[in-house]
């Protein structure tokens, strides 16, 4: 029995979809480990399977082969220990207010009585700076605000791993930068383990403590690049450009091949 | 705003035109023929109605009696439900229609321009129940349902008359009424507890009484206080005025049919058996049951009218028979100077 040290253990997983024409191998022989408190970025071009990888970890997709373990337990189905912030703006339940949306997972989990749940939810909402909008409905919020609520909701459950599937992709550059900063603040404060998917090199560098570069067809992790830049990071920080070039080269390799 | 006014104005003009066309159509349907008599063949439009009471009508149809008295008559027999008769006459689709006496008065009260051209029969009607504990009107509880064909039917009125006598209020049982045609009511009464009573008419009355669980608790004549006409045939004003020969032929045809039933019930039964889907023996038996009187003379007309006005079902009472009868019936009733003849007296309920 192998002793698994890290929090997340992804071992030689592959995922094959049975498509219309012929089977599509989305992931092949993907392996990596995560320690607690890491902000692991998975960087890859569109269609390389990074979303699929995240969904496998979340439990939405069943593995064709290999295994994923979280704290020594194999992942079999979705659960509140691996909450996900999805891509796009439609992940909030539109019939619930901001507060109700964040309370909802706590209610499902049974994390206390009404007052306690309200308190906890309120804390996370204020964490993302939306206390003033607690009683608003999602359709009244801007894109950036919606993503913040989604993050608050995902955090409220105190998951073992926070999974984020290109959550800032649909936002404009300024909002994106703001949210990246807020995410880092939250991460540093709570020391949560995050897997963050992106196709944006800059974003990966700013966020990731380690960056897994994926190649496509078949999808696999080509290389894991540690990020030693100090925080806070920004474009122009020493070493930023070099890292950018390195990652770019790794990605470029895929485009030619 | 101006454009919408114009559009609305056009709409109004078109609507008025359409309405007058429609109204004109309804008005025109009444006169089935041209005003000059004899110019075109006379049309007679009658509804086929089923039931023992309509036996004379059935015989008129089978033996083509109208055509016998008016060879060039074009008789149209229309198929429609009994409850549609009055509406069809109002809409100008029928020249002659047969209804109960009470429904006739409801129509007359509302201004229908038709009058009685003939009676068909007096018949035994009765309130029959399948419950042992019910022996008189007093025994009905709120839950008991009493079936009559429809509101304002002759059965309803007879029940109301009895309710006035026994319970002090003609409408005392109105909330117990349930509307069911005779065949359905008979089935319901004989098969289960769904209804408690049925104000039945022949032949259902007879069929129900053959069951030992069913008894009659109220007799029609007893409730009315004397004999009363059950069904009458009414002819519309336009039919009577515009085609007098056809009207006369109709009257004679009915009279001949009634006479056949009374003088030769066997032959009448033979004619009726196929359309009634019964054996001729059974038809003959029904035609001659005690209390059955096929006659063209009506009975109890004023009795019904006066009761219905008092109980609030109609607003006016005829002051003279010519308000409700055509000449042949008026002549049969007569008008005795200085008193009332037995036939005139027979139009009223017996004072008790």
């Amino acid at each position: 029995m192998i002793k698994i040290a890290g929090l997340l253990y992804v071992n030689k997983i592959s995922k094959i979809f049975n498509g219309h024409q012929q089977p599509v191998t989305a992931l092949e022989d993907v392996s990596f480990e995560l320690d607690e408190g890491e902000l692991f970025c998975i960087l890859g071009p569109s269609g390389c399977g990074k979303s699929t990888l995240l969904r496998c970890i979340a439990g939405f997709e069943k593995l064709t082969s290999g295994e994923i373990m979280v704290e020594g337990q194999p992942v079999q189905k979705p659960g509140p220990d691996r909450t996900m912030v999805f891509q796009g703006f439609d992940q909030l339940l539109p019939w619930k207010t901001v507060l109700e949306n964040v309370e909802f997972p706590l209610r499902v989990k049974g994390a206390g009585d009404r007052a306690e749940i309200r308190e906890i939810a309120g804390q996370y909402i204020s964490l993302v700076g939306l206390t003033a909008f607690m009683h608003s409905y999602p359709h009244e919020l801007s894109g950036g605000m919606k993503q913040r609520v989604a993050i608050a909701r995902a955090l409220a459950l105190r998951p073992r791993v926070l999974l984020m599937d290109e959550p800032f992709a649909s936002l404009d550059a300024q909002t994106r930068t703001a949210l990246q900063g807020e995410l880092i603040t939250i991460w540093e404060k709570f020391k949560i383990t995050i897997i963050f998917i992106t196709h944006n090199i800059q974003e990966a560098i700013i966020l990731g403590s380690r960056i897994g570069v994926m190649s496509s067809q078949p999808g696999t992790i080509r290389e894991i690049v540690p990020n030693h830049l100090g925080r806070p990071r920004f474009v122009g920080y020493p070493g930023f450009d070099e890292m950018w070039a390195e990652l770019h080269a790794l990605l470029d390799f895929n485009r030619l091949g | 705003m101006i454009r919408s006014i114009k559009a609305t104005a056009v709409l109004v003009v078109v609507s008025v035109l359409l309405a007058s066309l429609g109204g004109g159509c309804a008005a025109n349907k009444d006169s089935g023929t041209a005003r000059t008599v004899g110019a075109t063949p006379a049309k007679v439009r009658i509804a086929i109605q089923f039931g023992l009471g309509y036996a004379p009508v059935q015989i008129v149809k089978e033996k083509k009696l109208i055509e016998k008295y008016l060879p060039q008559a074009q008789v149209e027999w229309k198929q429609m439900g009994g409850e549609m008769i009055r509406e069809a006459m109002l809409a100008g689709q029928l020249d002659v229609g047969f209804t109960g006496v009470a429904p006739f008065f409801v129509a007359w009260d509302k201004g229908a321009d038709w009058k009685i051209a003939t009676s068909l029969l007096s018949a035994p009607l009765g309130l029959q129940t399948n419950k042992k504990e019910i022996n008189s009107l007093k025994d009905f509880t709120k839950e008991d349902k009493i079936a009559t064909p429809y509101s304002g039917s002759i059965q309803h009125m007879l029940l109301a008359m009895a309710a006035e006598k026994e319970l002090g209020n003609p409408k005392a049982l109105d909330n117990n009424l349930i509307s069911m045609q005779h065949p359905d009511a008979a089935t319901a009464l004989m098969s289960g507890p769904a209804i408690s009573a049925h104000f039945a008419a022949p032949p259902y009355l007879f069929e129900e009484l053959e069951s030992k669980d069913i008894k009659q608790i109220l007799d029609g004549e007893e409730a009315f206080g004397g004999e009363f006409g059950f069904l009458v045939g009414s002819a519309t004003k336009s039919f009577h005025d515009n085609t007098p020969a056809a009207y006369a032929a109709f009257v004679m045809a009915i009279n001949e049919a009634i006479t056949l039933i009374n003088t030769n019930p066997k032959e009448a039964a033979q004619i009726l058996a196929p359309s009634f889907e019964m054996s001729p023996e059974k038809v003959e038996d029904y035609l001659t049951r005690p209390g059955t009187n096929y006659t063209s003379t009506p009975y109890g007309l004023m009795g019904f009218a006066e009761f219905m006005k008092k109980a609030g079902y109609i607003k006016k009472v005829p002051q003279d028979f010519d308000e409700i009868c055509w000449e042949n019936i008026y002549a049969a009733i007569g008008k005795k100077s200085g008193g009332q003849s037995p036939v005139e007296r027979a139009q009223y309920r017996e004072a008790k």
Binding site: A58, G59, F60, K77, P78, G79, P80, R82, T83, M84, G88, D90, Q91, L93, P94, W95, F104, V108, K109, Y137, P138, H139, E140 | S4, T8, L11, V12, S15, V16, A19, S20, G22, G23, G24, A26, A27, E83, R86, L90, A91, P103, V106, A107, K110, G111, K142, E143, K145, Y150, S151, G152, S153, N175, N176, L177, I178, S179, M180, A194, Y313
Partner: protein, 256 residues
């Protein structure tokens, strides 16, 4: 909004004037085409002696009872439809077969099965509403963005709880639309059933009132009842449903 209202009002006023003109002109017999005055008289008489009100209330009572039963059945059937493919296929077939059948055509069958009383009428109402509601519910469920479902699964929901707490509210616009269709169908079926059937026990509804007035040849009374039917229909559709929509799908920004 005000423009439409003004136009509608003008149209109604014109129609009223037209009606009264035709009625009084004698073009059509008064037994067929009563004047508005006599209709109004019949209306006020019916209200004064309570008959119209009682019958209207009874009709509403029947329809609400039937709708509640149908809603319950619809939620159960559509929930199981989503949870089991076999059941879902069964339900789809049932809807395809039963939906085209006009509720009123089932009345004779209902009478034989349920006898006399409220039973057959409730049955007819339930049939009229159940199939469109199931259809809308299932369509609504299928139209729910998969992301909501995944959010639900992510936080640990599954099975009936998932359906009820996430799928049902997400499908609410469809459910509401199904209810609206159901209401309108049920209203029609109810009035028709009452007219054909006669009376359901000691009380009747508006259809029964029409039936009665017809036999008493009170055409003004018939029209008065029709007016009540229209008023109730408009009240429910504009006020009740409008209110519900305001408090739910409009508030949530879920109007399609």
């Amino acid at each position: 909004m005000k423009e439409i209202f003004k136009k509608r009002l003008m149209f109604i006023l014109l129609l009223t004037a037209l009606w009264e003109t035709v009625a009084r002109s004698g073009l059509i017999k008064p037994q067929l085409f009563p004047s508005l005055v006599s209709i109004w008289q019949a209306f006020t008489a019916g209200m004064a002696n309570g008959e119209l009100v009682r019958n209207a209330v009874f009709s509403l009572y029947l329809i609400i009872l039937g709708l509640v039963i149908a809603m319950f059945l619809a939620v159960v059937c559509s929930t199981f439809s989503m949870l089991s493919r076999t059941f879902g296929n069964l339900v789809d077939t049932a809807v395809a077969v039963m939906d085209p059948l006009p509720a009123i055509a089932l009345l004779p069958v209902a009478l034989v099965w349920f006898g006399i009383g409220q039973g057959p009428i409730i049955f007819v109402i339930v049939h009229a509403t159940l199939w469109p509601m199931i259809l809308n519910a299932v369509t609504g469920f299928k139209a729910v963005p998969p992301i909501y479902r995944e959010v639900g699964e992510n936080i640990g929901l599954s099975g009936p709880r998932l359906v009820l707490s996430i799928m049902a509210p997400a499908a609410f616009p469809y459910l509401l639309s199904g209810l609206k269709i159901g209401w309108s169908r049920a209203w029609r079926a109810l009035i028709a059933a009452e007219m054909i059937f006669g009376t359901a026990g000691a009380h009747g509804g508006l259809g029964w009132y029409i039936y009665k007035q017809r036999y008493l040849m009170d055409i003004s009374g018939v029209f008065a009842a029709l007016i009540v039917i229209i008023i109730l229909g408009v009240l429910v559709e504009d006020l009740v449903f409008g209110f519900i929509e305001k408090k739910t799908i409009k508030r949530w920004g879920m109007t399609s």
